[in-house]
């Protein structure tokens, strides 16, 4: 059981800044995120895109913002449960909560802050009728352990970075890699596209375009996929490719998911909170901050998430330390004492006589 003061669901910008604000109040945080890395949408969807409305940053790349936020909260030693989705929440008799992930990891905290953005990112599944019956029997939408493909025949479908990058990686692991895409053009980093071209020329990746996987064949496990290939003259041919694994990589889309069943008041796919006070939900002790919440006049902006996180931490302090006195301290005045023993503070003024 992982125990912490504030359990944050979602490691995007709002969740990461919460760690900093909580740290100033000597509250420890742990974050859960369905993605394998921190940063949320900023890392998953648009790491290379610039953001222009972060105060004091005329321009910052979304990926760089994530790095800065991680650096800013580092001394407060946040814990992370990554690659797991928060599934259930159980309120304990003492008012605290136990949150369990889809992999069974349990987290115990007096305060839960949902900073889940648009929800947890789930793979987009292609519209193939019988595909569901082959899930985990040779069909995988996310590659977790590349070793399971060693010396296997693998078919990858998709035209983006993940399809390209995994084709490259698995060409050294699998016995056979076939990449199938609806078009001959791929969208990805230039070096990935060039590398796939090179591996294709060497015969290490078999490329089939423009084509689509339209069916999965097998008994209890994947034996082959049916490919529909379109030639220039609009002539289609259909044939089977024998394989052990079919990996469709069509990106991820966020879904509110299990959080929607936690008994929270939901409106327009977002969690209703009290914005006049502290961004608490209808369940005391559970807060919702950032893009995941809604209230009159809500704006889904990173900078608004930062503000919400700050007010939320003050309210969480009262739950965790009932009746304990506290006044806001400015970091410039008080400095920052990290949980790792580090201290940051303003340099002392020089007091010296001028003759």
């Amino acid at each position: 059981m992982i125990t912490t003061d504030i359990l944050i669901i979602g490691a995007g910008p709002t969740g990461l800044f919460t760690v900093f604000e909580a740290g100033l109040l000597k509250l420890k945080c742990h974050l859960i995120d369905a993605l394998p890395q921190a940063g949320g949408q900023c890392s998953e969807i648009y790491p290379k895109k610039p953001i222009y409305d972060i105060p004091a940053y005329p321009e910052i790349l979304a990926g760089d913002l994530t790095h800065k936020l991680l650096e800013q909260c580092k001394q407060f030693e946040p814990g992370f449960t990554l690659g797991e989705r928060a599934e259930t929440i159980d309120k304990q008799e003492d008012g605290s909560f136990i949150v369990t992930t889809n992999k069974g990891t349990k987290h115990h905290a007096p305060v839960v802050a949902i900073a889940g953005g648009l929800g947890s990112f789930e793979p987009r599944k292609p519209l193939i009728d019988n595909i569901a019956s082959f899930e985990d029997k040779g069909v995988e939408y996310i590659i977790k352990d590349p070793e399971i493909y060693r010396d296997k025949k693998v078919v990858i479908a998709g035209g983006g970075d993940s399809a390209l990058d995994w084709s490259i990686f698995l060409s050294d692991v699998a016995s056979e890699v076939t990449l199938i895409h609806r078009r001959s053009e791929f969208r990805g980093h230039l070096d990935s596209v060039e590398k796939v071209q090179e591996l294709k020329n060497q015969g290490k990746i078999k490329l089939i375009t423009p084509a689509e996987v339209i069916n999965v064949v097998g008994h209890h496990k994947v034996d082959a996929v049916v490919v529909k290939e379109t030639s220039d003259k609009h002539i289609h041919k259909e044939y089977e490719i024998v394989c052990d694994h079919f990996i469709p990589l069509f990106g991820l889309s966020p879904k509110l998911g299990p959080i929607a069943n936690w008994g929270l008041e939901i409106e327009k796919n977002a969690i209703v909170v009290n914005n006049a006070l502290d961004y608490q939900t209808n369940i005391p002790g559970i807060y919702a901050i950032g893009d995941v919440n809604t209230y009159p006049g809500k704006l889904k902006l990173i900078l608004c998430g930062f503000h919400e996180a700050t007010l939320m931490c003050q309210s969480a302090y009262q739950i965790i330390n009932p009746g304990k006195r506290y006044v806001l301290k400015y970091t410039t005045v008080a400095g920052i004492d990290g949980f790792d023993g580090t201290r940051k503070e303003a340099p002392k003024a020089v007091v010296k006589k001028i003759d």
Binding site: G119, L127, E185, G251, K268, A270
Partner: protein
């Protein structure tokens, strides 16, 4: 009706037709017009914010209105999206302009 507004027709994912006025002077795209009228639920459209990176604003163009030409990133995204037809476009890549008066589109299913 403001001078710069245009009439457009949007069929939502349930098949209901909405006849609405779209401003052309606020740098709005079709995805944003749909959101401003809440024709698709929040969180199901415009997920990437309008960067042609998610296809949640895919729509089928029903009228023969002249639209801006498709750029590489829109074409690439549509090649990875589902339920794509010959008349598919990403709403976020269609800026509202006065010559789009009478535009008719249908929202593609949520995916």
């Amino acid at each position: 009706m403001m001078e710069q507004d245009i009439n457009i027709k949007i069929t939502d994912r349930e098949g209901v037709i909405h006849e609405i006025l779209a401003p052309t002077d606020m740098a709005m795209n079709l995805m944003e017009v749909v959101r401003s009228y809440e024709i698709a639920p929040e969180g199901t459209i415009g997920i990437c914010g309008g960067m042609a990176m998610c296809a949640s604003c895919q729509c089928y163009v029903l009228s023969d209105t002249k639209l801006p030409e498709m750029q590489d990133d829109e074409e690439a995204m549509l090649s990875e999206a589902f339920d794509v037809k010959d008349n598919s476009r990403l709403g976020c890549q269609i800026q509202m302009t006065p010559d789009m008066e009478g535009l008719e589109v249908e929202l593609a299913p949520e995916s």
